[in-house]
């Protein structure tokens, strides 16, 4: 009789461990997938900006201060991205600011807005900016719900020993910051 009770408790504990483990794996996988999406979109932005800058330069006939700023910020972000998106966050935040300046420039010049190539690249860049924001939003939501799950009782008893550490949110500070001095590659 006691044997069966002990056996029953053991089975229950094993079942609980399995469901906890699977739940945490699911949450972590979702967060990791979201993370790689951020990476993809950041790279896409690095690729798009030189094109748009070139097209704008051609259409205006001279190089504006905004354009040099954007290119600087872009190169800084590319250089920083070697260390991974988390370390590149400040540089990417600066690039977001510079990109807004560039899109604002396009908005304020009618001859730019009328240019088909500019329009097309403007839409691509706007969309990429959105995708970065949405990927970050989904990543942070996923991480938040994963962290809540691993810290909730009773999962908290097993999470750490099953190898599920806390995950970090991806913050891109919105404040204006100095464009950092960069060494061009």
């Amino acid at each position: 009789m006691t044997l069966w009770i002990v056996l029953g408790i053991v089975v229950l504990i094993v079942l609980w461990l399995i469901t906890t483990y699977n739940g945490l794996v699911g949450g972590r996988t979702q967060a990791q997938a979201a993370w790689s999406q951020i990476d993809v979109q950041l790279k896409r932005r690095h690729d798009l900006i030189p094109n748009l800058v070139q097209v704008v330069k051609d259409a205006m006939g001279y190089e504006q201060e905004t354009l040099t700023k954007v290119i600087q910020a872009r190169n800084a972000a590319v250089a920083a991205s070697a260390a991974g998106p988390a370390q590149a966050a400040p540089a990417e935040a600066a690039l977001t600011q510079a990109t807004r300046g560039l899109l604002g420039l396009v908005e304020s010049y009618p001859q730019l807005k009328a240019n088909e190539n500019v329009k097309q690249l403007q839409e691509e860049l706007t969309s990429t900016e959105n995708k970065i924001a949405f990927a970050r939003q989904f990543y942070n939501d996923s991480v938040a719900s994963y962290n809540v799950r691993r810290q909730s009782f009773p999962a908290v008893l097993a999470a750490q020993s099953l190898g599920f550490g806390p995950m970090e949110l991806f913050d891109m500070p919105e404040t204006e910051r100095e464009v950092p001095k960069v060494v061009l590659r």
């Binding site: 979702q30 979201a34 691509e124 989904f138």
Partner: protein
Amino acid sequence: MVGTTDFVAAQRVNRRNTLILLAMLTVLAALFGYLIGWALQSEATDEVAAVSTFGLAAAGAMAAASIGWSGLSLAFGGNLVVAMAQAREIGKDDAPQLFNIVEEMSIAAGVPMPKVRVMETEALNAFASGTSTTNASISVTRGLLNTLDRDELQGVVAHEMAHIANLDTRYMTVVGVTVGLIALVADMILRTLQWGSFSRSRRDDDKKSSGAGILVILLIVVAILAPLAAKAVQMAVSRQREYLADATSVQFTRNPNGLISALSKLAAAAAPFPGVSRATQHLFIVNPIQTFTAKSSALLATHPDIADRIARLRNLGG
């Protein structure tokens, strides 16, 4: 700020509800089958047996039919709607902005990129289809593309993406099948009884048993009321899913104003929408058969009042 990944929880709830609904559908169909078989046997033998062999056989047949029907509609239901609305699949070059917006929303929802389709009509509408996040598609009308600005289009696409992420498309397919089967079975019961009572009156009236008579009256009541009740439940579920999709849409875009201003434009537009039947109307963002909705009661409407939806969105901080 709207909570964390609530739509993941909504997906879970919807998966469970779909299973419960499927089970209820099967039980209901089996019960109907049993009632028919029982009534038929009582009519034939003029005895009300506690356990009817006819009834058991009919119950088994009905259960099998309902499971088979649900499986088929889950496999092919989405394609049918797309074909009926004449939605044509497009690539990125055909409508770059729409394609970008759908991509943005699929990232925000964390689901695979769905197919993008356009319906060549001036009407303003959109719908989502597909029974899982991997075979989903979003269809919008040409009129919508021409009329809405980027933020508004994003709100509408986010609403459709919410239907996909919340698995509403699967849920509503199964609900539709439930209601359809109940209506069909009720119709069958009424026909069977008609035939049964004719044959009895031809036989002789002095032999009829009161037990069989009560059973017949019960059947008639059930057969008349069940489809109406099922329809009302379906419409209530449909309206609830619309509210949830509006809320999830804002969770994706973090911008209620886009959807609010899009809904206002959709409400004001009155272009007719060919290729929509009452069988598919519940899938659209606003009811494509507006004249019908205006006349019908709120109880049987597929969509909540647009003014009400806008009011709820404003509560989210619009």
